[in-house]
Symmetry: C2
Subunit: 408 residues, 2 copies
C-alpha cells in the first residue's frame, strides 16, 4: 500500500463528465489498496470568468479580495469531485486550503507555503477516505484566504506530498510526459521515462511548459518523487522526475532540446569599459521591472565594450526606451536590438562527465549554416541564441546529433 | 452614528452593475457617519447553476459537499462588493461565514446558528471599514462549511445585527415593503409603515414571501429592529417590523390579508369516535414525512366523526395513498379530498382587543356567496379555507371590509 498524491489540472476537470473520469481513475488506485490524496484546479475557464467579473467592478482589483474571489473556483471542483467519488461508492471528503490548513505568507495572489497541517488529512486517509484538496490556495496566519498564483495547484500537490511523505506525486496534464523536445517540431521526439530535477528545471524554464517551475523546485527541495502523466490516457507511465542522478539506470548524456522564441536581444555598443558599467546599464532596466535572462559582455580593443542581454519579447520596446533615455549618461555609442531571435538549449546532467558536448552542438549548427549570436552555459545546459527562422531546423538537427530519437 | 446591518438578496447583486449600485447605497449610509455591515446572497441564478452541476455528478448530492459547493456563491459576491466599495474610495473587507466565524450546528444545508464571533468585525468597523459578510453560510465546530438553507441570508443579517447590537437591520428586496395584501390581487393594497413581528410571522408563513420566516423569529427573539426596503428605490422607507405592539402609534385592528393556494384538503369520513383516532390517522401521514397544516374534527351523532386536514398540494396524492392503505385498519367509511382550495387569512394583533372581527369576515364572505369549508383561528389570525376560484374575490372584499385601503 502506497500513499499517492494526484493532481488534476483545469482541463482534466473541465466538465462534470471529466470530473467523473477523474473519479474513475482515483477509484482504480484506491482499489489497488493505495491511499489517495487528490489536488484539483478550478474547472477550465472558471478562473478567467471570475477575473473578468472582478475587472468589471474594479479595474485594478484589490489583491486580498481577488484571492477570496478566485479561490471559489477550486472550491467548486473539490465538492464536485468528492460527490463523484461517493457516487462510485468511495468515501471522500473535500478540503479547502483554509480547512487543511495550508498556511502561507500574506502575499496575496502569489503567496508562498509556510506550513501544512497534515493531521486531519491523515486521519481521513487512515479511515479509508479519499482526501480531495483545493489546489492553488491557502490561508495566512490571520485567516485571510491566499492564492499561490497561476499554476499553483502543482505546487499544492508537491507540498502535500512532502508534508504527508507520500510515495509519489502524480501530476496529470494534457500531455503524457516530458519529451526530448516538442513533438510538433521533431516528430521523432521521444517520451523520457525519467528525467532529473535539475534537467526538468532547465526544461521548464526554457519553455517546456509541462510543470510549473516552483513545483519542481519544491519537489527537489523535499525529495518528492514526481511523475507527469496524461489524464486522457489510461495506460501510459508518464515521466518520472527523480532527485538522484543514479536513479537513472541508463544515463543518457543529453536528455532533451529545449527552445523558445519569447525573448528579444538588446545590445549596447561602444560603452566605456570601466567598472560599474554593467550596473549602469542593467540598473535602469531592473528599475523598470524588466527581467533579464542571458547577459554577455565582450571586451573591445579600443577601451570600449559591447554589452548584450536578452529580455522577454513583450518588454523589448520598453527596454529600448529605458536605455535610450540613459544612453548619453552611460556614454554608449549605439543601442540596437533584435526581437526575432530564438534560444535553443541542449540539456543533460550527463554533460557534467562528458566532454565534447559543446563542440558537437556548435559543429552541428555550423554544418547547417546557422550563425550563433550568443552562448550561455551552465553545468547541465548549453544555450545559444540564433535567428528565429532557423529555430525548428536547429532543434531537429540537434535532436538527431545527440541520438535523442533512440532509446538510451 | 448608528450601526446598520444591510442585507441584499440575489437579485440586488445579480450583475456587476447592480453590485456597483449596492456599493453606492452603502456609501450613502457611510457618508452619513454610520457604521455599516453588509450581508449578501449569491448573484441570482448562481446557486441554481451550482446545484445543477452537483446533480450532474451525483443525482442525490452529499449534503456536506453541497454546502462546500453552494457556499462559493456568496463568496464571489462578497469579494466583488468589497472591490466595488474600494473603487468608491471606501475601506472594505470581506468575510466568509467561516472567517467571521458564524458557528452553526452540523445540520448541512439547513444548519442553525449557534454563535457569532463579533470581535474582528467590530475592530474593522471601528477602523472605518465596511464589513461585507457572506450570507447563508457558517462553519461548524469541526471547521466544516455549513449553509442555513434557502433564504438563509436574511437570517445571517438578523443574527449579525443581534450579535453586534445593531441599531437596525435593513433587508433590501425587490419589493418596497410589506403590503396589506398582494397588490396584484388588490390594486388598492397599501404599504404598511410598521407591522409587528407576530403579524409578520403570520404573513410570512401564509405566503407573503417578503422575508424568510426564520429570520423574523430570530429578530423577535433578539429584539432586532428589522426594516424591509426596496433595493431599486432610493426614496422609500420600507416597512419597519417592530417587536412591541405599542411602537405602532396608530394601531390598525387588521394589518393585512394573506392567502395561498398551495394546500389541499383531505377528509376522512365516518371514523369511529374513540380516543386515539387522530393519532391513528395522522401517525401514518407524519411517518410519510408530510407536514399537516390545519386540522378540524367534527363530532357526529352516530358515534362516528369526520376528520379533515390540509397538506401541501404537492403531497396531496401521496397522502391519499397513505390513508387508503390504512383505511380498513382505522375503520373509516370513506376518504375524500380536494386540491382546488385556497386559504385566506385576516391578520392583526389588534383583534386581540377587538371583538367582531370573525363575524365581519364571515358576513363579508357570505354576502358574496362564498362558502367556508374550514375555519381555524389563532390570537391574531382567522383563516378560512374556500374554493380556490373565489380566492381573489375573497381577498378583495375582505381588504375593503377592513378598510385596509385607508391609512390607519
Amino acid at each position: 500500500m502506497a500513499l499517492i498524491v494526484q493532481k488534476y489540472g483545469g482541463t482534466s476537470v473541465g466538465t462534470p463528465d471529466r470530473i467523473k473520469n477523474v473519479a474513475q481513475r482515483v477509484a482504480k488506485f484506491k482499489m489497488l489498496g493505495h491511499q489517495v490524496v487528490v489536488v484539483v484546479s478550478a474547472m477550465s475557464g472558471e478562473t478567467n470568468r471570475l477575473i473578468a467579473l472582478a475587472k468589471e467592478v474594479q479595474p485594478t482589483p484589490d489583491l486580498r479580495e481577488m484571492d477570496v474571489l478566485v479561490s471559489t473556483g477550486e472550491q467548486v471542483t473539490i465538492a464536485l469531485l468528492s460527490m463523484a467519488l461517493m457516487e462510485l461508492g468511495l468515501k471522500a471528503k473535500s478540503y479547502t486550503g483554509s480547512q487543511v490548513k495550508i498556511v502561507t505568507d500574506s502575499a496575496h495572489t502569489k503567496a508562498r507555503i509556510v506550513d501544512i497541517e497534515e493531521h486531519n488529512m491523515r486521519a481521513d486517509l487512515d479511515a479509508g477516505c479519499v482526501v480531495v484538496v483545493a489546489g492553488f490556495q491557502g490561508v495566512d496566519e490571520k485567516g485571510n484566504i491566499t492564492t499561490l498564483g497561476r499554476g499553483g495547484s502543482d505546487t499544492t500537490g508537491v507540498a502535500l506530498a512532502a508534508a504527508l511523505k507520500a510515495d509519489e506525486c502524480q501530476i496529470y496534464t494534457d500531455v503524457d510526459g516530458v519529451y526530448t523536445t516538442d513533438p510538433r517540431v521533431v516528430p521523432e521526439a521521444r517520451r523520457l521515462k525519467t528525467i532529473t530535477f535539475e534537467e526538468m528545471l532547465e526544461m521548464a524554464s526554457l519553455g517546456s511548459k509541462v510543470l510549473q517551475i516552483r513545483s519542481v523546485e519544491f519537489a527537489g527541495k523535499y525529495k518528492v518523487k514526481l511523475r507527469v502523466l496524461s489524464s486522457f490516457d489510461d495506460e501510459g507511465e508518464g515521466t518520472l522526475i527523480t532527485f538522484e542522478e543514479n536513479e537513472k539506470m541508463e544515463q543518457a548524456i543529453i536528455s532533451g532540446i529545449a527552445f523558445n522564441r519569447d525573448e528579444a536581444k538588446i545590445t549596447v555598443l561602444g560603452v566605456p569599459d570601466r567598472p560599474g558599467i554593467a550596473y549602469q546599464i542593467l540598473g535602469p532596466v531592473a528599475d523598470a521591472n524588466v527581467d533579464v535572462d542571458m547577459i554577455i559582455q565582450n571586451v573591445g580593443a579600443d577601451g570600449t565594450t559591447d554589452f548584450t542581454f536578452t529580455v522577454h519579447r513583450n518588454e523589448y520596446k520598453k527596454t529600448l526606451d529605458v536605455l535610450k533615455a540613459v544612453q548619453a549618461h552611460i556614454g554608449a555609442r549605439e543601442i540596437t536590438g533584435d526581437d526575432r531571435i530564438a534560444k535553443v538549449s541542449v540539456i543533460g546532467v550527463g554533460m557534467r562527465s562528458h566532454a565534447g558536448i559543446a563542440s558537437t552542438m556548435f559543429r552541428t549548427l555550423a554544418e547547417e549554416g546557422i550563425n550563433i549570436q550568443m552562448i550561455s552555459t551552465s553545468e547541465i545546459k548549453i544555450s545559444v541564441v540564433i535567428d528565429e527562422k532557423y529555430m525548428e531546423l536547429a532543434v531537429r538537427v540537434l535532436h538527431k546529433a545527440f541520438n535523442l530519437d533512440q532509446e538510451a
